[in-house]
Subunit: 329 residues, 2 copies
């Protein structure tokens, strides 16, 4: 079974509305360009639906992450801006923070494992950020980042469990709904849940009857399990090719939004993700990272029994290592 | 030396103006979507110019070719439409003809070598075309196509040396100039010259002082030689990775336009093309075929001593075989 059973809707009012996401869009629009929307008749014929692909791999830094980071940083006070920001991750969130900070002339420190790929280190340095190394086996990156924040007076920019981060990521869906109307279904990659939270808030408000799915890797089914249980479940660090969504438990904010707004969670295997990446490469001429391809994987491997629907899919990013790309070929 | 020396401008009036290209745009717009424009700060920093990439690999069929084919086919009479069209090529032009014909409900026959890749055959059949095989060693594909045209009353759709094909391809530049203003330089892949002819006619009319370059593979320098000599020069079938522009001599129409409109021809090696494809894959997240990457290759390998200019580059297509893509990785 791939769709989680219906879960109890929590009636608790959320401290986030589409107005916050519209405000985020107004804030970040001067610094970012809208990403293009793609269609593929071949894909539509294969999956028997009419699909619209939102190309966040063409966002600055190669993923949607700069949206949330920029929305958060733009709301810092003058003193906070002068002291700078810190983030921990070797992935897309740190790139997003580094780019947002550089764009706004704010110092950024990124806590990164000392065995991170050279390409990622170079890219981060290229965006003007300072890198602080840690030992993945011995040290806790979050503790290091918090220590840095305290010592140097830096503001920690969290990857997803923050209302302003969520509002920034939601601008993906605002743009999508400006580009295409009347979607029946929306499918979004699901890791920490920032992207899905923001997008589902927009989608549900614009179209109350839309069906919204998050897509997780089979081995990283923390949201799937949590929605079934009705509470946040922690899982071991998942072993999946989708390195952008190797989260081990839902965020507090993101779980609150997703349990109210989302209709279900679909699970895909690494093989299905690679098949989706291959289709995107050869037929749609685009490089999408494993995490970015999970929604495409879910449709291509028929996780949903839908036909003739208008389906929006978010391609969340394109930052992929050579070995994974070679595997997809 | 990579830029051809100045050549004598022919004063002969051309039977093609920007009005024909605007008419082509009006004709084909209902059937095709505009392709997106991309930028890359990283690329701009490397080449010290501000660059705008026109993404024709996102055109229907994966290249610009459907534009010219559709413009040509839309001007056929009722009887011609009923009998159908024929094209010879195992490449993008045939895909373009097949897609245009299918879209307009017209039968298409494609003359294709019997050793053409299975993927291309399947794609062509998928667009509803009939395939007529020929033996690459023994038979002349053009003669076969002309024979079919005579026998069955089909209209032969030529790949580039035709004013209506050229007008259709020129719509790429019309779109480009709607998306970005004030280009100083335009760089376009150059094979038979249909794309460059149409684009240079638009660019020169919109901005008389723009500098326009065609880009050819080093081994396929038929236009380069022809412009130097002032007449169409025939070369042996070039050995280059850029399979879309393995032409052996300029067309009559395309040579007439290009000698009047274009400032020079740049030459790039296969290694430079592969380097450009790699950059496009990893940094810009897009799959561009060798032919489509030649303009990027020319800038990346510093064939032009320009700085601080606004440069438009046409990425002409994205249909690439697995082996070549693996080579680029």
């Amino acid at each position: 079974m791939t769709v989680s059973p219906p879960f109890t809707n929590s009636p608790a009012p959320l401290p986030l509305t589409i107005r916050d996401i519209e405000a985020a869009a107004n804030r970040i629009t001067p610094f970012l360009q809208p990403t293009p929307l793609f269609t593929s008749r071949t894909f539509d014929q294969i999956v028997h639906n009419q699909c619209f692909f939102k190309g966040e791999h063409y966002q600055r830094g190669g993923s949607f992450k700069v949206r949330g980071a920029m929305n958060r940083i733009l709301q810092l006070g003058t003193g906070e801006r002068e002291r700078g920001v810190v983030a921990f991750s070797s992935g897309n969130h740190s790139q997003g923070v580094a780019i947002a900070a550089k764009t706004l002339g704010i110092p950024a420190t990124i806590v990164m494992p000392n065995d991170a790929p050279q390409a990622k280190r170079q890219a981060t340095l290229g965006y003007g950020a300072e890198i602080v190394d840690y030992d993945r086996q011995q040290q806790d990156r979050e503790a290091i980042a918090q220590e840095l924040a305290r010592e140097r007076g830096l503001t920690l920019i969290p990857p997803y469990d923050d209302w302003q981060i969520i509002a920034g990521q939601g601008t993906v869906a605002l743009e999508l709904f400006q580009q295409v109307a009347d979607l029946d279904v929306l499918m979004v990659p699901l890791g920490g849940g920032g992207l899905l939270s923001g997008c589902s808030m927009v989608a549900r408000t614009v179209n109350p009857t839309i069906t919204i799915y998050g897509v997780e890797p089979e081995t990283g089914d923390d949201f799937y399990q949590s929605l079934q249980k009705g509470e946040r479940v922690r899982i071991p660090v998942p072993d999946t090719i989708a390195d952008g969504i190797r989260t081990t438990y839902p965020g507090v904010c993101t779980f609150a939004v997703i349990r109210q707004m989302v209709d279900g969670v679909l699970l895909v295997s690494d093989a299905e993700i690679l098949q989706a990446m291959r289709f995107l490469l050869y037929r749609m001429k685009m490089v999408v990272e494993p995490t970015g391809a999970v929604a495409v994987a879910a449709l291509l491997s028929h996780k949903l029994a839908i036909q003739g629907k208008r389906v929006g899919l978010v391609l969340s990013g394109g930052n992929v290592d050579a070995e994974i790309l070679a595997q997809a070929l």
